[in-house]
Symmetry: C2
Subunit: 155 residues, 2 copies
C-alpha cells in the first residue's frame, strides 16, 4: 500500500474524477496540476505562472488563478494558508477518490519546507467537538502544523 503513483497516472485519475463530476480537466488545468504535483513542496501562484510561461507566453495571473480555483473546487489541490501556496491532494487514488472537501491537516517542516497532508480523524473529531461545545457549526477547518519533520529531526 501507499505505493508511489506516477504523475501521469495521478493526472489521468484526476481527469476521470472530473468527468465523474461533470467537469473538464482542460490541457491548461492539467498542466497547472502537473506543475503542482511535480513540486515536492507547496508552490506559489506566481512560481506556477513563471513555469507556465515557458509553454504559454501569454499566461497572466488570471490564467493561473482560474486554474487554481478549478482545482481547489474539485478537491485536486489544497491551499496552504501559512505559505500562500498550493499543494496536490494526496488523498486521491487511495480508495475514496476526491472528496470535494475532506478533512485534512498539514505538517510543514520549518527546516526543509516539506509539507505533507494527513487526514487524522481524532483531530477532526476534536475540532468538531470543540466547535459544538462553543455553539458553533463547523463547516471546514484549516489545520497547519509547523515543526520539524522526521528527516530533518534525526539529521
Amino acid at each position: 500500500m501507499t505505493a508511489t503513483i506516477s504523475r501521469e497516472q495521478q493526472l489521468n485519475e484526476a481527469e476521470a474524477a472530473c468527468l465523474r463530476r461533470g467537469a473538464k480537466l482542460t490541457p491548461l488545468r492539467r498542466q497547472v496540476l502537473d506543475l503542482i504535483l511535480a513540486s515536492d513542496s507547496p508552490v506559489g501562484a506566481y512560481a506556477l505562472l513563471d513555469r507556465l510561461k515557458a509553454d504559454r507566453p501569454g499566461a497572466a495571473p488570471p490564467t493561473v488563478y482560474r486554474a487554481l480555483d478549478f482545482l481547489l473546487e474539485h478537491g485536486l489541490i489544497h491551499k496552504v494558508e501559512r505559505l500562500n501556496a498550493f499543494i496536490g491532494c494526496t488523498e486521491s487514488g487511495h480508495g475514496h477518490g476526491h472528496d470535494h472537501d475532506h478533512p485534512h491537516q498539514f505538517l510543514i517542516c520549518r527546516r526543509c519546507g516539506a509539507t505533507v497532508e494527513i487526514a487524522d480523524h481524532a483531530v477532526a473529531d476534536a475540532i468538531a467537538a470543540a466547535a459544538t461545545r462553543a455553539g458553533f457549526t463547523a463547516v471546514e477547518a484549516t489545520v497547519e502544523i509547523e515543526g520539524i519533520c522526521a528527516r530533518c529531526g534525526t539529521a
Copy 2:
C-alpha cells in the same frame, strides 16, 4: 468570571506584561493594539494603517507592520491566516498572562465575520498526537475553523 475588561485595562495589562518580558509597549505599539482591540472582528494591516493615519499622517506600511510584528512576538495579538488579518489575544488577563505562544484555535463565522479565540486542550492534544505519530515534532499549529456562529445559526 469572564468579566468584560475595559480596553484601557487590557492595554495597561499588556504594558505590564511587556515590562516583565523586558520589552516596551511604546505609544505607537499601544495605539495599534488599541485599534485592534477596538474592532470586534479581525482587522487587516491596511485598515489599521488608514485609522492610524488620522493621528499620524506620516504612517506607512512599515509603521504598522513593525508594530504588528512586536505585538505578535509578545503574544498580544494573533494573525488569522485565512483572513490576512489580526485579532487581540483573549487569553490575556485570565490568569496565566500572555504566553509567548500558547495553543489556540479560531472560530470564524462565515456570515457575520465574528472571530473568537478558544484554547481547547483536546484539540491541541490531538494535534500533538497526530504529529508525533507521523514522526513530526510540532512547534506550533494554525487552527482556523470556519462555519456559522451561535448567533447567526439561531437567527
